[in-house]
């Protein structure tokens, strides 16, 4: 027995040396040095999903890589962070590892970011999609409703059953804006069409997203749109042989036969601008809400699945949004119970669009906001 044990130990040691030995030539990746003498910034990114989710988190991670490339600063990230005290712990871990800028990219991180911001006044916090701010905590987001509206035009022109499905996460203003803008886009070209909403109450659970997608397909929807982090509904549409509108990133690769276009995020330039301002010492916490004009959101290139004439229609509508002629939220707008929500000629303000009262669905949506 002793001999055998010795043998096992011997083999193990050889293995350890072999592994470590051939690893020794490659040292750990050394952090890239800043390009000049400006104050050193190390940015930490807190993600709700995996970096390879093909959607929300991947779009942010592309922004992080862009930031690394452009400014040569060191960044770290942590994926699959739950919207619980674990979020605060991850942020504290990052600060412990030398981060002085934190980007937290999910709504539900808000309270934990706020807590960390109070405890670390020297660290700059940027929280995506929330509304709580302080001297060292800014919020940022994009007017995703603009490309949502444009994608609605594509869907409205394409649908044959005049029934479009929308897999949505939570009944919060961000998601409701998306549904309403999309539906108004649909009905701007096809007043007969309706948009059926299914709530998943998750950003990231791919199984629940796909179940909701299948339920919508069973209701005879021939186009699926989504407000989910990952492309589950695209896959469901592809399998059924119908069409889809993605979200977050161009999702053509995932559903080549179904995907028509996606409203997409482009975080990189914003991240560079913010970190640059921090390095220059000019940063102040703000509430950033850019649109197509600023380039933080856009509509991805239409694929060959998109209907004929859609490209021109989208370009026309986009020009009107850019010129300010179409503000999307200009009345008369009715909700889906028939109540007039926005008076003729009145346009909703940013405060109204992000407030507690923005809890209704526009005419043409089949579904309701549970509260």
């Amino acid at each position: 027995m002793k001999k055998r044990l010795g043998l096992i130990l011997g083999i193990l040691m050889v293995m350890v040396f072999a592994v470590v030995g051939c690893g020794a030539d490659k040292s750990t990746p050394t952090p890239k040095k800043p390009v000049d003498d400006k104050p050193q910034v190390k940015a930490g990114f807190v993600y709700i999903g995996p970096v390879g989710d093909g959607g929300w988190t991947e779009a942010h991670d592309n922004g992080r890589k862009y930031l690394e490339d452009k400014l040569g600063i060191e960044t770290v990230y942590n994926e699959n962070v739950p919207e619980s005290s674990d979020c605060e712990k991850v942020i504290n871990d990052m600060i412990d590892q030398g981060c002085n800028v934190i980007f937290a990219t999910s709504f539900g991180f808000m309270d934990y970011v706020e807590k960390a911001a109070n405890n670390h006044p020297d660290v700059k916090f940027l929280h995506c999609s929330g509304y709580k701010m302080s001297d060292n905590m800014g919020v940022y987001f994009g007017r995703m409703y603009e490309p949502r509206y444009l994608s609605g035009i594509v869907a409205g022109m394409k649908t044959k059953t005049n029934k479009i499905g929308y897999v949505a996460a939570f009944e919060i203003p961000e998601v409701l804006r998306g549904i309403n803008a999309f539906t108004m886009g649909v009905r701007s070209v096809n007043p007969e069409a309706t948009v059926s909403v299914k709530w998943t109450h998750t950003w990231i659970d791919a199984v629940r997203a796909k179940e909701a997608a299948k339920a919508l397909l069973d209701e005879n929807c021939d186009i699926l749109a989504q407000h989910q982090d990952a492309p589950g509904p695209q896959v469901a549409a592809e399998e059924k042989g119908v069409w889809s509108v993605g979200y977050n990133m161009d999702m053509t690769a995932i559903a080549p036969k179904a995907h028509m276009t996606s409203p997409v995020w482009n975080w990189g330039p914003y991240y560079v601008e913010q970190v640059q301002a921090i390095m220059d010492g000019t940063w102040e916490s703000e509430s950033y809400w850019g649109g197509i004009k600023e380039g933080i959101v856009d509509l991805s290139v239409l694929t060959e699945n998109a209907p004929e004439g859609a490209k021109e229609a989208v370009e026309n509508a986009k020009a009107k949004i850019l010129s300010g002629e179409n503000k999307i939220w200009t009345g008369p707008i009715k909700d889906n119970t028939g109540e007039l929500k926005v008076e003729d000629g009145v346009t909703l303000t940013d405060e109204q669009l992000t407030s507690l009262d923005f809890n209704w669905l526009v005419e043409g949506v089949i579904g309701k906001v549970e509260s």
């Binding site: 995996p50 990230y77 504290n92 539900g108 309270d111």
Partner: protein, 359 residues
């Protein structure tokens, strides 16, 4: 033919060596994986240790994590000692957190000491009562407690989910399904920068140890765990022992729930436990149900978790890969238990020899 035969009693030294070998095996295999990811395993392992103990902050984080593991493991150990397989720690944590949150949300203005005391009592009763249900069924009708406690986890989770998405949803959260945060009075104070739960954990290690070794009930639980017939002959009230032990077991898990909700999350949510009730089963088992071992194993396990999270950010290793290491260590250590109890032999001839010549 490969056959397995039961070993005789193995010497302590030998069994310790086998367990250490198991850990080394796991480290070596994970090292190969790190190599495949183009990183130096030695650097990663050094970082793992540094990530767990390299600064005051990190040590604090390890203590926070181990606090929850210790208390939950102690609770589970009490049930396991009786051979009552309480897989329901997770659900008992949820129900404890729920009961404590009920007090915190409804009486936010009570003076801090009173409010926290009430929350602790409510949390323990909540977890205890939840554990009493399967205990009652087991005592009364000998139902299978493993299945029942396991399934009750999901009921507890769905109950908290229902509250979070329904009646307890914070109307000020713009429709986002979250429960309102506790008032400042409902948050456990800190001692040396760490929430006071760590003192509870240390006290409980001593208390449970005394309970096991020097109390009548503790002795009865042990006897019942060894053999029900012996317990019967000894005149132990089996039903009562099951109920009492499970209430204490659930109450400790419920206390963990209260601590997690109050000190860490400052609210109740479906993420309040984060799988603690399941992780604690592992630490309990690895610690042979012994309170002081539970303390040590929990700290080591918490260090592994903290270090794992550190290397994830430090080296950009995917989260899944970092968690593989924990999985591998557990797998090999649990597998080694098999080799401590059994041995594999190649043929009959050898079996005969081993039977004669082993030990």
């Amino acid at each position: 033919m490969i056959r397995m035969i039961k070993r005789g009693k193995m010497s302590k030294r030998k069994s310790v060596v086998i367990r250490l070998l198991a850990v080394i095996f796991a480290l070596v295999i994970f090292a190969i994986l790190i190599r495949v990811m183009d990183l130096n395993p030695l650097d990663v392992y050094v970082a793992l240790v540094k990530g767990a103990f390299g600064s005051v902050y990190r040590i604090r984080e390890v203590i926070i994590k181990s606090t929850a593991l210790v208390i939950t493991s102690l609770g589970i150990a009490i049930a396991f000692k009786m051979q009552f397989w309480n897989i329901g720690g997770e659900g008992q944590i949820f129900m404890g957190a729920f009961a404590a949150s009920y007090i915190a949300l409804n009486y936010p203005e009570l003076p801090k000491p009173l409010l926290l005391t009430l929350m602790i009592i409510a949390g323990m009763i909540g977890g205890g009562l939840w554990a009493l249900i399967p205990a009652f069924f087991k005592a009364q009708w000998k139902t299978n407690e493993t299945i029942m406690t396991l399934m009750m986890n999901y009921i507890a989770l769905k109950w908290v989910m229902y509250l979070q998405y329904g009646p307890w949803k914070d109307p000020m959260a713009l429709g986002f399904p979250k429960i309102a945060n506790f008032s400042a009075n409902a948050i456990l104070p800190k001692v040396f920068g760490i929430h006071i739960g760590w003192i509870f954990a240390l006290l409980l290690v001593v208390l449970v140890s005394v309970f096991f070794n020097h109390s009548k009930k503790g002795y009865e639980i042990t006897v019942l765990g060894e053999s029900e017939n012996t317990a019967l002959y000894a005149g132990i009230d089996i039903k009562k022992t099951i109920l009492v032990a499970m209430f204490i077991s659930g109450a400790l898990c419920g206390l963990t729930g209260m601590i997690q909700a109050s000190a860490l999350n400052n609210t109740l949510s479906i993420d309040v436990s984060g799988g603690l009730g399941f992780t604690a089963i592992i630490t309990t088992w690895l610690a042979f149900l012994k309170p002081f071992f539970i303390l040590i194993v929990s700290i080591l396990f918490a260090a592994l978790l903290q270090g794992g999270s550190f290397i994830q950010t430090a080296f950009g290793i995917p989260q899944a890969a970092a968690e593989l290491l924990q999985g591998m260590i557990l797998f090999f250590v649990l597998a080694s238990e098999f080799f401590i109890r059994y041995k594999l032999v190649m043929n009959r001839h050898q079996v005969a020899n081993e039977k004669k010549g082993d030990n």
